[in-house]
Structure formats: C-alpha cells, structure tokens
Symmetry: C2
Subunit: 232 residues, 2 copies
C-alpha cells in the first residue's frame, strides 16, 4: 500500500530546561531513514528553557508577556491579542501558552524554531546515523475559519514548500496552484495522532516522497513578507 | 502500530457532468467501515456539472465568473480577488479554478458542499453497507503564510470540530486550546498523498478514532461568523 503512515511517539517524559531532547529522540528505535519527525513546540520550549513564571490570577501578567513576545500587535479583542512574533509568525497571544505547562508558568516559542529543528535533525543523524526531516509544530487559529490546526514553526531537512511550477495537471495544462506548504500539511497530519490532552509531544510520518527532503527554513519560505500580504 | 494510514485512490476516471461519483466511490473495494474518505472539490464539481465555459484569453471572463460566485469582495490585487462565497468561505477567486479542467472551462465550487459529502456518505452506506466519514477538500491560500494547503469545504459523518473543552492537559490543567478543526487537518493530510498533477482525486484515511464520527457540517461549524472575525 503506497501512502503515509503516521503514529505518535508514546512515553515521552515531562521535559525540563536543559533536557537533551534531541539526544532522547535520537535514541528512540522507532525512527527510520526518510521519516519526518514532528515535535510539538511545547516540549521544545520546555527543553530549551523557554518557560517563564506567571501570576495566573492576574490577567495583566499574561498580557505583559504576550506584549514582550510581540513585535507588532494586529488586533485586540478582550484578552485576545493577535500579534506578530520576532520570527514573523502571526498568531494569538504571540504563541505564549499556559496549557500543558506547570501551573504558574507559561511557555514561550523557541527563540529560533528552525534552529531547534536543525539541531534535532543533526543530533539524530550523528547518533542514529539516519537522515530525517524534522518539523516543530504549534497550534494556531486562523481568520475566517473556526477551530485551530497545527502548523510548522520550524523545519530542517524537509522542504517547506513543494513547488509544482512547470508541472502539468492531469489534462496537460500548466498548474495554477504551484506552491504547496507541505510542512503545514505534515504538521496538521501529525496533530491528528497526538491528542492535546494525552501528553504526546512527537509523531513520526513515514512514506514521504524522497524528493521532498532538502534544506530550507520556515522563516525564509513560509513567513509572508508584509509587502505581499493583503491582511495586515 | 497505532496511528493513521493515508493512501490515495488511484485510477479514478475523468469525471463529466452526470457521472455517478458517489456510486463509483461506493463500488471501490478499498473502503472499510470507519474510514474517512477525502474527495477533492474538483472531481465533485465535475460530476455535479459545476463546469462553465470561459474565454481563457480574456482575463475579464475569469473575473466576471469570480464576481458572480462572490457575495462580497474583501481584497483585490492585480488579477487576484479574495472574496466570500455563498457558503461563507473566504478564498482566492471564489474557488473558481482553471487547473485540472478541460481547456476553455472553469470549475466552480459545489453549490452545497456539505450536501455533496452527505450524498457520498449515504450512497456508500446504501451500496457497500459501511459507515464512513466524507470530506470534500479544496486548496486554499491563507494570510501571513506562503503556500497553499487543503482544507475541508464539506463534510458528513465526521465531526468538523473536536471539542476538548472540559478535558485536562497532561499536567491536569484545563486545556486552553479546546476546539480543533480536525476536518481541515484530515484534508491537509489527504493532500499529502494526492499530488495535484497526478490526477488523484480521492484518498482514504484509516485509523481515525471512533468518537470523531458524528453528524455536523462545515458551513455550520467551521465558517466563522463576521461578528466574531477580526480580519474582514
């Protein structure tokens, strides 16, 4: 059967600052050459020490951290802030998140989420001797459509965009839709097996076409420049 | 191995108006009870006769159709129009698409994409005697992030939103992110195995948790009302 298999990596511990997340993932015997490993932002942020204390009884505490993590605020409504992060991501509350974090603390986004992904990829290559793609995923809302979905905030070894320019459709006509954000589709697919309440923090996607693997970063390829964006 | 398997349905014909798409899908022996069947908008639109002639040498021809399919225009830039369709979807060119359509024609969105999904589900149940979820997918751009991804524009038998309200995270704290748009994640996952240039128009996702199957429509659950939308 051609296609993809997606399964969670169970039994990950609660990570704390300084934990060797990359080494721990590299030691898992589930990983195979050519896999895409999707790791949630939450465990990356914990291992990288991107956890800050917060007075959860004081909404201003959360708001202050969100503003510190934002380079620009796009919209406010009640306690919700939609802002742009230093990476260029536009999301709710600058990605600052209180769930799945010890009470009294908030998780911030990794400082450089593409670098976080590269580090995991490099360590897995060094320890396990296999080439994989790595995606750091996070849960974002979006305009116009209710519900959240997971997207890629960092990647390594897997091309963020699959460029179909120059290829023809099934009727021989050149394709209009040419740039597919496969890393976001992979992040979304991985979320389906993780379950936000079950403590899974990583998943493996097996069967990804070999020609999707290349270097490239989310910040370089996926973040849309303000000049070409119609909704800022 | 727990998790999901995703694979394309190969060998689908070029559909023409009046084709019994639902019957043809129901006759496929790949489908099993509890599968989610993702069908692209393109083959649904073709089978439902939502194909219109267009003078492809005259940009005004395309523009006129896009405006006819729009209830409201949000943004214009060059030949690109971001507008709201009668369903409430906000997307480029009202979903009017020239790729994978016979030259000189354009495909419009299904009139009622939730109904299209229900019809396929009901026919599969009637002919094959199995209960499946059905998603009609289409390829949308999005603000702030480059590249397109597939989303659900119609569904039947699978809950569009997975509501995690009241569940706790791995540390016993009530989850903040509570409503996951699993149908969009399923549509994105299915796109990974379809390939826009290879003429695959449907994929099967196997292993979806049994409690995700319920009634519910995309238009009712996913389309965000203007009042709660911050980006119109």
């Amino acid at each position: 059967m051609t296609g993809l298999q997606i399964f969670p990596l169970p039994g990950l511990p609660e990570f704390v600052p300084g934990d060797d997340l990359a080494g721990m993932l590299a030691a898992r015997n589930e990983l195979e050459d050519g896999d895409v490993l999707v790791v949630t932002q939450k465990i990356v942020s914990k291992a990288e020490g991107r956890i800050v204390p917060i007075d959860t009884d004081d909404p201003r505490g959360h708001k202050t951290i969100v503003e510190e993590e934002s380079v620009r605020v796009l919209r406010r409504r009640g306690e919700l802030i939609i802002s742009e992060t230093s990476h260029g991501f536009i999301c709710a509350n600058a990605g600052v998140d209180l769930s799945n974090v010890e009470h009294g603390h908030a998780a911030l986004l990794p400082v450089d989420s593409d670098r976080s992904a590269r580090r995991i990829r490099d360590v897995v290559k060094g320890i396990a001797g296999i080439e994989i793609g790595v995606i750091i995923s996070d849960t974002f809302g979006r305009p116009w459509r209710r519900g959240v979905t997971d997207v890629a905030i960092g990647s390594a070894g897997i091309g963020p965009i699959l460029d179909l320019r120059g290829t023809n459709d099934s009727l021989g006509r050149e394709l209009m839709v040419t740039e597919v954000c496969v890393v976001d589709e992979l992040a979304a697919a991985a979320d389906l097996v993780m379950g936000k309440s079950e403590g899974f923090g990583a998943a493996i996607i097996r069967g990804v076409p070999a020609d999707w693997f290349r270097s490239g970063s989310i910040v370089d390829e996926i973040v849309r420049s303000p000049a070409e964006d119609l909704f800022r």
